[in-house]
């Protein structure tokens, strides 16, 4: 709290009004509706609805299609987070070894951040399109029966590649910042103590980078969960045969394509719980980070 403030009483409310109005109309009201609908079941014409308790949740959680989506989401998120973090860390370490030209490399690395997820997906599909993709062609020459539009695992590989590609820039910037924050004296001390570069990396740099890595892990998980909707929608449409249908894609699909309201709302509430858990985790961790400096 500041020591000095303006004495006006009405003005702050006027200043807050637009933001509050938008959050109430477009955030809180719909979120409350999602909760309400998740315990109701509507008849197919939407004319009446009745309270069904947790039945929608029970139904959703027993639905093999939902469990499949859950599994797809976990596999997808783990792969994306692992590759996006691993590649970005490796490149950030290489970038830090360099003295001249760092700025140029950075400029070249940050583009994908600006590419819409849906377009990122399409770019990868262009390259790996079974009929005319330039990079699909050598795969076929190698005797691989490449067709991500028919093969579930290949489809997953393609969306993971596109999602990873897009997230590398973000992670790269944060790892570079994290590496630059490591005190030079620590590495000099390690060098004088006789540690090899490789040894110094795993015993000093990597542990000191842990806060950045944890933070990015949460951010990448949220990204893989929510922001990749466009990739999946544009590239595979959840297919082939639900093999790339993630939780968010399923919410959309059930709510807008299949029009099953109660289920969609229950799924929304489950997603909300996941976001709240992740956010809480992130904030607990950020509080800790303050102590570690």
């Amino acid at each position: 709290m500041r020591r000095t403030v303006f004495p006006h009483k009405l003005l702050p409310w006027l200043l807050l009004a637009p933001q509050l109005a938008i959050t109430l109309i477009f955030f809180y009201w719909p979120a409350a509706q999602a909760f309400r609908q998740s315990v109701l079941r509507e008849d197919p014409f939407g004319l009446s609805s009745q309270f069904v308790g947790l039945a929608n949740f029970r139904k959703v959680l027993n639905d093999p299609a939902y469990l499949n989506a859950l599994q797809v989401t976990v596999v997808f998120s783990v792969l994306v987070a692992f590759f996006a973090l691993g590649i970005a860390l490796f490149l950030a370490v290489q970038a830090e070894k360099i003295i001249r030209g760092k700025g140029l490399y950075r400029t070249m690395m940050i583009w994908p951040y600006a590419v819409a997820p849906a377009i990122a997906g399409m770019l990868w599909l262009f390259m790996f399109n079974p009929s005319f993709g330039t990079l699909a062609w050598p795969l076929r020459q190698l005797g691989i029966n490449w067709n991500p539009l028919l093969d579930g695992e290949q489809a997953m590989a393609l969306v993971v590649a596109a999602a990873t590609w897009k997230q590398i820039s973000y992670n790269f910037l944060f790892f570079v910042a994290g590496l630059q924050a490591i005190p030079k004296s620590l590495l000099e001390a390690a060098a004088i103590d006789g540690a090899s570069r490789r040894h110094a990396f795993w015993t000093i740099v990597f542990p000191l980078l842990a806060p950045t890595t944890f933070f990015l892990l949460v951010v990448n998980t949220v990204y893989a969960l929510f922001d990749t909707f466009g990739i999946i929608h544009a590239v595979t449409g959840g297919g082939p045969g639900r093999s790339t249908e993630t939780l968010v894609y399923k919410v959309y699909n059930d709510g807008f394509v299949n029009l099953i309201m109660g289920d969609s709302a229950a799924q929304s509430v489950i997603l909300m719980v996941i976001v709240i858990a992740l956010t809480a985790f992130q904030f607990r961790f950020i509080e800790k980070r303050v102590h570690y400096g």
């Binding site: 509050l20 477009f26 999602a34 377009i119 929608h233």
Partner: protein
């Protein structure tokens, strides 16, 4: 990043050369998809459909772009390329400016005034972090229908301009303004508006630029929301239009024009990021604190 002092990790001799090679490989991987679509946009449909694609730009570039801008896209997508670019720019700028305006106003109220429920308002805004569109799709859509916002710019922009992150960032920045600066301004006779206009705004400019870049990208790359609240082709963003144009089963898809549209969908935000790199990096790193 080239700040003169060497990184503690800086390597010597061969190790540095190897690092350069890895970086070049990394850059190739990162940049290749964008390069690929650019090359494709300069070739004819026939060349595109006969892999492998040449690695250098073709001769049809000018013709492809001319055709795309002069009505060919209307024929495929039912709306002109100009309109798509205009829609997307309007939405991206609208979202970025809207977010800056309302989050600056809220942060200003929360930091520089004292009023009942001040912290309650702050938390109310803060908690929206946990309510992304994806978790409230269906009911939010219903609100849009009830308010008649389907297929309107307001519908595309308004629900996306509430911003907990931007409000947090401005709040954090405003709190670093020393009390004495506000006191000096008050003694000098400045009220809330003059203090904001003459002192706070000029001092906030780098933060505003940083948030603008991040939110412009956010607006430009929107997908789920425009997909939901637009039906008419006239209201499409370029990203949505591209998705509609790409029908991979259709042998008649004019791939050269799809590639041109892709390039135009990618290029503006890339230019913003690259040209405003300093603010972009600042915005990225600071909004996530």
């Amino acid at each position: 990043m080239d700040n003169g002092t060497h990184s503690p990790l800086a390597a010597r001799g061969a190790a540095r050369t190897i690092a350069h090679l890895w970086m070049i490989l990394g850059v190739i991987i990162v940049a290749f998809p964008v390069y690929y679509v650019f090359i494709a946009s300069t070739h004819s449909v026939q060349t595109i459909l006969r892999p492998p694609l040449p690695l250098l730009p073709g001769a049809e570039g000018y013709e492809n772009y001319r055709a795309a801008f002069s009505g060919e896209i209307d024929r495929i997508g039912g709306v002109s390329l100009w309109r798509l670019l205009g829609n997307t720019t309007l939405i991206a700028v609208g979202i970025a400016v809207g977010k800056i305006v309302i989050s600056m106003a809220s942060a200003y109220a929360i930091v520089f005034f004292k009023f009942p429920f001040r912290m309650a308002c702050f938390w109310l805004i803060f908690i929206t972090l946990m309510l992304p569109v994806e978790v409230r799709i269906q009911p939010t859509y219903k609100v849009m229908v009830d308010l008649g916002l389907i297929d309107t710019y307001a519908g595309l922009i308004l629900p996306l301009i509430a911003s907990a992150t931007a409000t947090l960032l401005f709040r954090q920045f405003f709190m670093t303004i020393p009390d004495e600066l506000l006191e000096a301004a008050r003694v000098d006779g400045a009220g809330p508006w003059r203090f904001f206009k003459d002192i706070l705004w000029p001092l906030s400019l780098t933060n505003v630029a940083a948030i603008f870049v991040i939110q412009f990208i956010y607006g430009w790359t929107q997908y789920l929301w425009p997909l939901l609240v637009t039906n008419s082709n006239e209201m499409n963003t370029i990203v949505i239009a591209l998705k509609k144009m790409v029908s991979f089963a259709d042998a008649d898809t004019p791939w050269n024009l799809v590639m041109v549209t892709s390039v135009l969908a990618i290029l503006p935000p890339i230019l913003v990021v690259v040209l405003m790199q300093r603010w972009f990096v600042k915005g990225l790193v600071e909004t996530e604190k």
